[in-house]
């Protein structure tokens, strides 16, 4: 069976050492991380991780996500297929100007993607590409054939979910409400 790309979205408290804790689960379950991005989320003090992996075993991915979510400081972890999310990725290329000058098709390849030049001089051209992982990888392979790449880096994928439901906000709200109810019941019982 072919390997499928899964994108795992994790929301955690912003506490010391949490990245270690999350990545240790991948290590233990022998899952290779393709890309990893961590940044503050739209919820105060909550960080969001976008992790992509290839796997041919959805049960294993489920297990992985459950074990991540089990960590006390992790709020929510879920996995998605490409059809369920919007993704984007940034790549930076530093390519050799003389080679580009000698092969005009390189320029066409770059212009074909969502890209812009950052700097051009007689030695190199730096290019910023914002696209899907797939297109960036294809561009890299195409450019590599010309042996023009001096430096190359990718940001790792970031993703937001499709759909009208905001799972994390809903989870936090529901959990907090349940706690308030619980505390009120406690107070009422004490009074009784």
């Amino acid at each position: 069976m072919d390997k499928q790309l899964y994108t795992i979205l994790i929301y955690s408290e912003n506490v010391v050492g949490i990245l270690n804790l999350v990545t240790a689960v991948f290590t233990r379950l022998q899952v290779n991380i393709e890309s990893l991005n961590v940044s503050p989320s739209g919820i105060p003090n909550v960080h969001k991780y976008t992790v992509t992996i290839f796997s041919d075993d959805e049960q294993q991915v489920k297990k992985l996500v459950k074990q991540i979510e089990k960590k006390v400081d992790v709020i929510k972890a879920d996995y998605y297929l490409d059809s369920e999310i919007f993704t984007s990725e940034v790549a930076l290329f530093k390519i050799s100007t003389p080679i580009v000058m000698a092969h005009p098709e390189i320029s066409r390849l770059i212009r074909h993607t969502d890209s812009r030049m950052l700097e051009v001089n007689e030695t190199y051209i730096s290019v910023h590409v914002c696209s899907s992982s797939k297109i960036i990888i294809e561009l890299y392979k195409a450019l590599a054939r010309f042996k023009c790449i001096l430096q190359y880096t990718r940001s790792g994928c970031v993703a937001i979910t499709r759909g009208k439901e905001e799972k994390v906000s809903a989870f936090l709200k529901e959990h907090q409400n349940a706690q308030l109810r619980f505390m009120e019941e406690g107070i009422n019982n004490d009074e009784a």
Binding site: R28, K63, Q67, E69, K70, V72, D73, V74, Q179
Partner: protein, 562 residues
């Protein structure tokens, strides 16, 4: 100190050292005179402290507390932390740490505790400021005991120990990223009840979750109404009394024949507070393939981890079992229940009788355990080490009261038994605490006899001495062509050792002397060391060979009698 008091801590197992000295200085006042709030038990090695805290927690249900120093001090507790994690035991380890200013400089006795402890504990936190102490301590105890219990480690740099601030009490009973007890979902409950109501051959697999949830009565009511026989895991042995008519024995590699084989005939299996350990399931490719599986557990990560579940109920069994009881029909599965008997009889005649009532030859572990069980009438607390001693002790002890088995299940930690029994005596004042040890496990922690001496812990130590690391020897015998690589072991003279520690000692070699010796041990006021001289090469049977299907459980060596 005030934060620990607020958590109801009374007993602390610990060992002082450089980085925790300010805490110990405060402890000086809080363990005597007007301010006295705690008893501090000075163990002889930090591993002893954590296992004692585990034993304390397992028998009482309260959180065990450990205080140790940084570096080697806390490193010595880590085996126990990992053990408490896999066996869901609530403990809090408070460890000294070098000051924040020198963290990361390879300072004396510095250990990167956060990174080391993270994967083996439920939560680890570094308290860098004194004003965080009340909050962090309260959160530590809340996390250790709530939900699926586990170990929590507090890394306490020295500067935060000596800085001063006003004590502002703090109570944590809510963590927004953590759901302690998920509510049972109605549809899952209904589906589970429908499966159980349609079952002809239902079987329950009961684990320690029932004990941790304090749901022993709820379990009984549920099983009795739906008339479901129940096998228990090793850690769940006292979740259902041994003499309950629906108890059909112990699951697992060396458990009883009937529940191991009959689970492969059951049409509906309900697993309650257990995690389908590989020691229970054997080869997963052949396990429970015929059955609909209902899994009730508080930990969502256990669902579908090893065994694919048809209905999952993620909830506290104390809450979920009564709801399920209300939904299931009163049933009578007499024919199914009766079908366990022939297997029980086969095991009784071919294994048990020979193990507990041998007619000749040297003493056997089974008969020693049985003699203690006869004398305590199943009202004692059984503590075990790991190995053959554990398997015989768990098989042949009886459990008539909850929380009466303390053993290292998941991690299989040799050296666990003696300190765990010490800890248990601080929580259990009524029932006798009997620990069954092999000569290997005893010698891993023999220094804790000093703790017993100093605090007069009434531990009943039953050493089953066969001059071998018995379980490894058994495997070498069965699977490594009897090549006994480093499993034979020379033993010291325990009479002299006990004399040195001032512990009453008796040695038994003749089975006719055994019952009276056990009586003397139980009647003695304090600690007692009963050395039983055991046949060197006895095997614990039945056995499901490693990697084999539970269908292939063997009653005798070298023959498949399943």
């Amino acid at each position: 100190m005030e934060s620990l008091k607020a958590q109801g801590v009374q007993t602390i197992f610990g060992y002082p050292g450089g980085s925790i000295m300010p805490v110990y200085d405060a402890l000086y006042d809080y363990t005597r005179g007007e301010k006295k709030a705690f008893d501090h038990i000075l163990v002889r090695h930090e591993q002893g402290a954590i296992h004692a805290a585990q034993g304390f927690a397992r028998v009482s249900g309260a959180v065990g507390t450990v205080i140790v120093t940084s570096g080697p001090g806390v490193a010595n507790t880590l085996t126990g932390v990992a053990d408490a994690m896999i066996d869901s035991t609530p403990v809090v380890v408070i460890a000294g740490q070098v000051g924040v200013g020198v963290l990361g400089s390879d300072a004396f006795q510095e250990l990167d505790l956060i990174t080391v402890a993270q994967p083996i504990c439920k939560w680890v936190y570094q308290i860098r400021r004194p004003e965080d102490i009340p909050w962090a301590v309260s959160k530590a105890y809340y996390l250790a005991k709530s939900g699926r219990p586990g170990p929590v480690v507090l890394d306490f740099p020295k500067n935060a120990q000596v800085s001063k601030c006003d004590y502002m009490p703090s109570t944590v009973n809510f963590v927004r990223s953590y759901i302690a007890s998920p509510l049972p979902k109605d549809d899952a409950m209904r589906e589970a009840a429908a499966l159980l109501n349609s079952a002809q051959k239902p079987l329950a697999l009961v684990g320690q979750g029932v004990e941790l949830g304090g749901a022993q009565e709820e379990l009984k009511t549920f099983l009795e109404k739906a008339d479901i026989p129940a096998g228990r895991t090793m850690l769940g042995l006292s979740a259902l009394p041994s003499n309950h008519p629906l108890n059909v024995g112990m699951l697992g590699m060396h458990g009883n024949l009937a529940p191991n084989l009959k689970q492969q005939e059951a049409d509906v299996v309900i697993a309650i507070g257990m995690r389908f350990s590989d020691r229970v399931t054997g080869n997963l490719n052949t396990y429970l393939k015929q059955a609909k599986v209902i899994h009730l557990d508080i930990d969502n990560a256990e669902i579908d981890k090893n065994v694919k579940t048809d209905v999952a109920i993620v909830a506290d069994c104390k809450e979920a079992l009564p709801m399920l009881t209300a939904l299931v029909h009163k049933a009578d599965h007499k024919a199914w229940r009766d079908s366990f008997a022939p297997l029980n009889e086969r095991e009784q005649s071919r294994v048990i009788e020979k193990a507990i009532h041998p007619q000749s030859g040297p003493l056997l572990m089974g008969e020693v355990v049985n003699a203690v069980a006869e004398a305590t009438q199943g009202m004692g607390v059984t503590v075990t080490d790991v190995g053959q001693n554990q398997l015989f002790a768990t098989r042949y002890s009886r459990y008539h009261t909850p929380r009466s088995i303390i053993t290292s299940g998941g991690l299989g930690t040799m050296g666990y038994g003696l300190p765990a029994a010490i800890g248990a005596t601080f929580a259990e004042k009524e029932r006798p605490v009997c620990v069954f040890l092999g000569d290997g496990g005893l010698q891993m922690v023999i220094q804790e006899l000093g703790t017993i001496m100093e605090y007069h812990c009434p531990v009943k130590i039953v050493l089953m001495n066969n001059n071998f690391l018995g379980n490894v020897r058994q495997w070498q015998n069965m699977f490594f062509q009897k090549r006994y690589a480093f499993t034979h072991m020379l033993n010291p003279d325990y009479a002299q050792i006990c004399a040195g520690y001032g512990i009453a000692y008796e040695r038994v070699t003749d089975r006719n002397d055994l019952p009276a010796a056990v009586e003397r041990m139980l009647a003695a006021k304090g600690a007692y060391f009963l050395e039983t001289v055991i046949m060197e090469e006895d095997d614990v049977m039945p056995m499901t060979p490693p990697g084999a299907s539970v269908n292939d459980m063997m009653l005798e060596k070298e023959a498949n009698n399943g």
